[in-house]
Symmetry: D2
Subunit: 352 residues, 4 copies
């Protein structure tokens, strides 16, 4: 007999990451999407706010009420803006609801670093920071089992870490990297703005927040440093590409003496991802393309060695809303609950 499904809530269900969480949970065999919260559109059918759900669910958005929610769900996935998330998480944790938080509120271990990069350090984050597990299964799987509070990584850090962490861990690249990353526009969220208005962004490319002003930088540095066992500096340039979904990260670093050739580098990735259900090291000569992982929790990675200049170029393509947000959250949920890790995440990219 099938086990009963575990009731979960999505808080912030009307944004893109929230909508993706709902999509995944509506097809999840072990979890049941029991409540969807969305402050501004409370009272509206979810399918009216997320039109791809028309005919699929009758759920109605509700205002967040921690007490009421705690009676109905065991787990909450929170997709709220940075700073808004921690108080919500705290209220839920206090009532015994496990939390997977997609914001940055619990990602940085060092409160001072958080304060330096985010203007607002929520007090609740401080209280719970210590128990939060950084939710990148490929690097922290053991800590995720049974975790009560999981900080789901940012989209840029996920792509960057998947491409570079194994190389740093293996001592094949120097601990000083450049990350030139390209993102689909959904990374900018669902609130209308001139910067993400179709006509301003639809047929051109541009960088934004250059020279260390993007707040995913300290997150990359924290996790790459753990991998390297030494402090890693990151020069990060994000770009917006005229497509809805996807992140392609190119990480540049000096090859160390140990990185004698491309095969050695590629082998380090192959070894790191052996048995990983969602990360594929592409065949030699193939390069990652965001279109090939769109709508999935998968990552395509590859590494190249420029023998002329002694530089390594490590690349990863993910879906920023999949492996870069909602998909990864579900993967963490599966691990935390002891379910099969791929549960509800079998999507294959619709190509083309």
């Amino acid at each position: 007999m099938a086990s009963p499904r575990v009731p979960v809530a999505v808080v912030g269900a009307s944004g893109y990451a929230g909508a993706e969480l709902c999509r995944l949970l509506l097809g999840h065999p072990r979890a049941e999407l029991a409540a969807v919260c969305g402050q501004r559109r409370a009272g509206e059918p979810l399918a009216s706010v997320v039109p791809s759900l028309a005919g699929i669910t009758g759920l109605v958005l509700e205002a967040f009420d921690a007490r009421a929610l705690a009676e109905r769900v065991e787990v909450a996935l929170i997709a709220l803006p940075h700073g808004d998330s921690a108080p919500v998480a705290a209220q839920l944790l206090e009532r015994g609801v496990a939390v997977l938080d997609l914001s940055a509120d619990f990602r940085l271990h060092d409160a001072a670093v958080h304060a330096a990069w985010y203007s607002d350090l929520p007090e609740e984050a401080a209280l719970h920071r210590a128990e939060a597990v950084y939710g990148l299964p490929e690097r922290h799987r053991p800590d995720l089992a049974g975790a009560r509070l999981i900080a789901v990584p940012g989209c840029y850090p996920t792509a960057t870490l998947l491409a570079a962490a194994p190389l740093l861990a293996a001592g094949l690249i120097a601990p000083d990297v450049i990350v030139d990353a390209k993102s689909g526009v959904s990374g900018g969220g669902r609130s209308p703005s001139l910067a993400t208005h179709f006509c301003e962004i639809g047929e051109g490319i541009r960088a934004y927040k250059v020279a260390g002003s993007h707040r995913h930088t300290p997150e990359m540095e924290q996790e790459l440093s753990v991998a390297a066992g030494a402090e890693v500096a990151v020069t990060f340039t994000p770009h917006l590409v005229p497509m809805a979904r996807g992140i392609l990260a190119c990480v540049y670093a000096r090859a160390t003496a140990a990185a004698s050739d491309e095969a050695t580098l590629r082998q380090a990735l192959v070894a790191a991802y052996a048995g990983e259900p969602f990360v594929t090291v592409l065949a030699p000569g193939k390069l990652p393309d965001t279109a090939h992982v769109r709508g999935t929790n998968r990552a395509h990675v590859q590494v190249a060695h420029d023998s002329r200049t002694g530089r390594v170029i490590a690349m990863a393509a993910i879906d920023n809303l999949g492996k870069g947000a909602a998909g990864q959250a579900i993967q963490c949920l599966n691990i935390a609950r002891g379910w099969q890790e791929t549960c509800g995440l079998g999507h294959i990219a619709a190509f083309p």
Copy 2:
């Protein structure tokens, strides 16, 4: 205990419809993708030709060999060009393999009409035409159960029929319709051509094959006439839109006296699609958008009444490779085999 999965083959697996069939079958709980044929790229791993399958399948493309295939599979789904399909289908049928054909070779009941619109009428099509069932479940479900040869409808006809057939059947619109349809570029296939080269098509819109020169016209007329119980004339204009997937069909027709208002029209759609797992009549005021059904076997339909001019506008949005091709083929397969109709087709569109 789970029943063993039924082995199936995809013939023409390297094209877009074929790739989509593979994607769907790789996630299907009752069917097993046992063989993939692709003449020109035989010998290459499927994942090398369809890069979204990297890390997912080790299947290798093989040259078509009816005898060998018949020993390994019970069903073949054929995604070959018009005219190439019938001989392949005939060889398989003769060896006891059930066939779902995505080409036009078996769609038209009247051989003369076929000959008039397609230059080449394969002899084999003539032989098997009589037993072919037109695979639109919403209109021909009873005939599909146990069918040995199913002609999967074209993408434009599917969208058009879903929007207009119930209105004609209910006598709410006159049997003379204009279909102005807009398609994603994948409808043009995977063979490189100037017309589908990114730069020629990526940032503009144009019609093609206007004034009754597109070969989906007689297919629409055949099926709409069945629905209407009278001969229906179709003026059809297809367009190419700068997006990979999706078809939006707008059908214009005169309202009859019975179509007193929009509610009456909408009610005819609601009644026609009550209980249909893949067709959603949108809430009043909502209009179909191809983005909302992308990557799925779903259809969003709506109807409007222009009381000023007495015209009805019926609309349907589908994914041309989903409900317009591969998804519909799997839906037909499910019905033909007696499986649950939604088996392996639970996809929800990734929004955005």
Copy 3:
């Protein structure tokens, strides 16, 4: 010696039509862009608000002040929202400034029709309505010479009229037409909104304001009726296509007895546009594509005859911001001032 350039102002310069007016005027040999008004961003450099002008102009946006403007310019081109425009136009006209208005405020001759379709009929519009000339040179050129107030046509009406008016005037199609038109997203303006947010619109197609609810309908009916010499009913469906610029209008109508074949229809267009500098009737077999007129004041038109169904399909492609707005305004300005009609409008589409 060159004549001194005529000083002109653009009011509403920070929107898309306003920005396009500035682009055209900055390259115009007879007019001088002397003032740019933009209420909300007054005080900012124009090049900061319209980033393609960086390094090209030092003009600064200013708040609208009719008195001050009248001392500096002879002509004002107004690109404000419907209803906002008429009061501004009235103030300028009273002070002797000629006005080209890109809003709908002065387009409809019949005040009752205007009131029925636009909630707000500005009193000033009423006063000046009688003297406003509808600015489609191909149909009203004689009236434009010396005109003091020109109502520049809407984008959809321009494309529709160029395709269909000559056929109605020649009695080749019945006075009851369907207009299925597809627009780039810039037609929705520059104010951020969910509907024009990249992710909601960037990879799908949808209709909007169907069944006679789009306010360009009465404008089409007014002008098509003039051409036909009889009342013409229009069923109009606009769509949004994932591209920034362009409108493709497909007009469907019954062929009359006089329209014996395609050549007759095409000849009517050729005759109508002989000598027209901006309208090209494409060679037989070629179909209009918005990409081919992008960034220009040009129109590509074509007509087809579906002999099976007796229907005519007339098509026109324009740039909604060019021939559909700013380009046409400059063309009207040239005529009104007695300058060469093509002055400052020699742009050829950048292809691709």
Copy 4:
């Protein structure tokens, strides 16, 4: 009295760079497009092959014939593939026709470097290499006056050089740079291929030819080394972005001790481009976007300093077919002939 226009030919007019040359020359006040050559489509009207020219020119494509051409034109602009160009150029030069070559055949001064990167070193290139001037006016303007053979730079090198050369020349960055560049798909040419088929490229991003395998690398190294007065190593990664036109180059390098802050770096660019008609150093805080220079010969440049990591990020946005190819060729032509440098190049980007 106006001087008579100089007759010029475009060889390779049916490709994208050739079509852009035609567009620019058809609007050029001093040059006259007198002949267009296109081997494969000889005999067809240019407007049939380049549909944006419908109604604009009656020129017909002809097969290349050096002797006949030399009698009709003084200048030829050649937009043929690498290797095909040199023999054509040689034949024309011998007959006294000045040549602007858009291929790589004459760009590299060192024949050995050319041979190492391009499989085929045409003998004619060897003969004429010595007299070829590298056509980047901002760096080699004096050499261009009166030049008989100009090697128009590649698109990636142009963007890279505009961003980085002044910083190297001023000793502000170390002579070891990473170039992460993003190109529109037109950079891949007009020949249909799977890689540039709409559906394969239209909604994703990917790198190609990584780790020093793109042949623009030695061209960047040659010219950056000249600027630096020392050998410069380039690690180059090109990407394809789903847009037709545009290149954004991000150049990463170590700041030297002289580069104390961002203002110093920016000032070096401002000084380098003072008086340059086509290069704009953006205001502080503004970043280049390819959409803002599309369809023009303009470049937007900016530089940032990541004080945390000591790295400099220099950026340039151009249109790969404009300043990256045809526009630059016309700019060189203007200089070579002693015309005003901006002649025929006044285009402002159509925004949006």
